[in-house]
């Protein structure tokens, strides 16, 4: 299993992708292959197009050009195998819903509009909540959770989906350091199981210390590869436009 992973198709393969957001072209012909089975971070300054890249790859922002493969397939065929943890701002915070109901949504891609959730689904939901340490919050309304607790719940939803590829958009904003570390442990564990994780992130230090793979963006791709090779002073200066001491 470990050997075959290296020949597995890229977790996220983007070719000549262009996308505009609010009338402004944010991505212009970007190409990148993010390998499977790794914990990969997409980093770069604000407005570098990090979020737009993953949103366009997931069809949440219409792409004007280019094509995308997730796990070697077009999006349509892998929906249930790809989980997405959106930025907190896009979620309706005051929606009347409990933590466990959010995690149950992770089973919807497998059950569609009408099929009932089975006992196996319930067990997956419970296990996912246990894994990220929110089992005791199951009945809590989502608007009474802290930022860290809420983010754990959303990760539990991705786990409950049993996706092979988990994509997260700025998962650690508004999250305390302890939660961040715990969530990173869970993500690392997913990669050890052969799953792929791609996170848009802005904290270079974390990416350097905890991630297996880094993509540095500033409009286009500045560099990608091993975090230590990507986050070099020269590359960072090119991306951020300032001299960064390491």
């Amino acid at each position: 299993m470990t050997k075959t992973m290296t020949q597995a198709p890229a977790a996220l393969a983007v070719h000549e992708l262009s996308a505009s957001y609010g009338g402004r072209t944010v991505l212009d012909g970007v190409s990148v292959d993010i390998p499977a089975g790794r914990l990969s971070g997409i980093v770069g300054p604000n407005g570098a197009g990090k979020s737009t890249l993953v949103k366009a790859a997931l069809g949440l922002v219409p792409a004007t050009r280019g094509h995308v493969r997730l796990l070697g397939e077009p999006l349509k065929r892998v929906r249930s195998r790809v989980a997405y943890v959106p930025q907190q701002e896009t979620v309706a915070r005051d929606f009347p819903i409990t933590a466990v109901q959010v995690v149950e949504m992770g089973r919807y891609p497998h059950r569609g509009w009408l099929r009932r959730l089975t006992r196996a689904d319930d067990e997956l939901v419970a296990a996912a909540m246990e894994q990220v340490g929110v089992a005791d919050l199951a009945g809590q309304p989502i608007d009474e959770l802290s930022g860290g607790q809420r983010q754990r719940v959303f990760l539990a939803r991705a786990l409950a989906q049993q996706a092979e590829l988990v994509i997260l958009d700025e998962p650690f904003t508004a999250v305390d350091a302890r939660t961040e570390s715990a969530l990173l442990d869970v993500l690392t564990g997913l990669c050890a199981e052969g799953r792929s994780v791609v996170a848009v992130h802005h904290d270079l230090r974390t990416v350097l210390d905890r991630f297996d793979h880094a993509v540095l963006m500033a409009g286009g791709i500045v560099a990608e590869g091993d975090p230590a090779d990507v986050l070099t002073p020269a590359n960072l200066e090119q991306a951020y436009g300032i001299v960064v001491a390491r």
Binding site: G23, T25, T64, D94
Partner: protein
């Protein structure tokens, strides 16, 4: 005071009064409209104009006479109360703006209807005159109304001019203004009061239901043509005035109610501007995308 203007127009005296009246109302609504539109509170105007009904009815019940100024005062008070209810619900009741507007709108409309029914059932023949606040009646404008509208409109514009920089920063960035030492409630109160004034002046002409269009459509039209707030206010006022005047003439000639005609003109102007505006218009954007692609 404005007799010379009415005489100078190539229209019969009653027509001239209607045209000048609708133009003045259109100008005031257009010039004050940015206070609602730029703060994403366009539909505030809708709830406030529905709120006038209850105020008019209460003013009539209390005084028992149909003096325009008294009814106007009642309308202004209740429109202001409706606005503060909405702001209060958003702040204290943790309601989203749209839900707060909806709750206040339906409550004040229900209250207005109950009161008007009560007045109607007490057999007062004059109640038909109150009904015009719901659907508007431009033909009822008299010279005294114009003078009143001019005076109040001038006062409102003076406030806008004096407090321009404050309103601009509060509209653009409420948080910053609050930090800078101006309490948000004060700005809210001022802009709400001004909006209530515009609503009250317009509501008898175009009616409570359509009033919101008179606040919003000229602003949308002007917004496409200028980026600067200092130009937006007079331009939007001008658009409102033109739609009011032309609508007044057309409705008089075609024997149609003035409110809907004015609203359709203003909407047409807004749509034209949205499609054809040189820089921000839809066509210009499509063309730019073609060139870029």
């Amino acid at each position: 005071m404005i007799g010379w203007l009415l005489d100078a127009l190539p229209l019969s005296y009653p027509d001239a009064v209607v045209v000048v009246g609708t133009a003045v109302v259109g100008f005031v609504a257009g010039a004050l409209g940015p206070l609602a539109v730029l703060r994403q509170r366009s539909m505030f105007g809708d709830a406030m104009s529905h709120g006038t009904l209850a105020g008019v009815a209460v003013a009539f019940l209390v005084t028992g006479v149909k003096v325009p100024e008294v009814l106007l005062l009642g309308a202004a008070v209740s429109a202001g109360l409706a606005a503060f209810a909405m702001i209060g619900l958003e702040r204290a009741g943790r309601l989203r703006p749209d839900a707060a507007i909806g709750v206040v709108l339906s409550t004040s409309l229900a209250l207005g209807i109950v009161l008007l029914t009560h007045i109607g059932s007490s057999g007062d023949a004059q109640q038909s005159g109150l009904n015009e606040y719901l659907v508007g009646q431009a033909a009822g404008i008299v010279e005294r109304d114009i003078v009143l509208a001019l005076a109040l409109g001038a006062a409102a514009l003076a406030v806008v001019t004096v407090g321009f920089r404050l309103l601009r920063s509060a509209t653009f960035d409420p948080g910053f203004t609050a930090v800078a030492g101006v309490p948000t409630w004060a700005v809210d109160a001022a802009s709400t009061g001004l909006l209530a004034l515009a609503v009250v002046l317009g509501v008898r002409t175009v009616g409570a239901i359509l009033m919101v269009a008179l606040l919003v459509a000229p602003v949308v039209a002007a917004r496409q043509l200028t980026k600067r707030l200092a130009a937006l206010v007079p331009l939007s006022g001008l658009f409102g005035a033109v739609c009011g005047a032309v609508g007044g003439v057309v409705s008089g000639k075609a024997e149609l109610p003035a409110g809907p005609v004015i609203v359709l003109l203003a909407t047409a102007l807004a749509v034209l501007s949205v499609v054809f505006a040189p820089r921000r218009g839809v066509l210009a954007r499509v063309r730019r995308r073609r060139v870029a692609g």
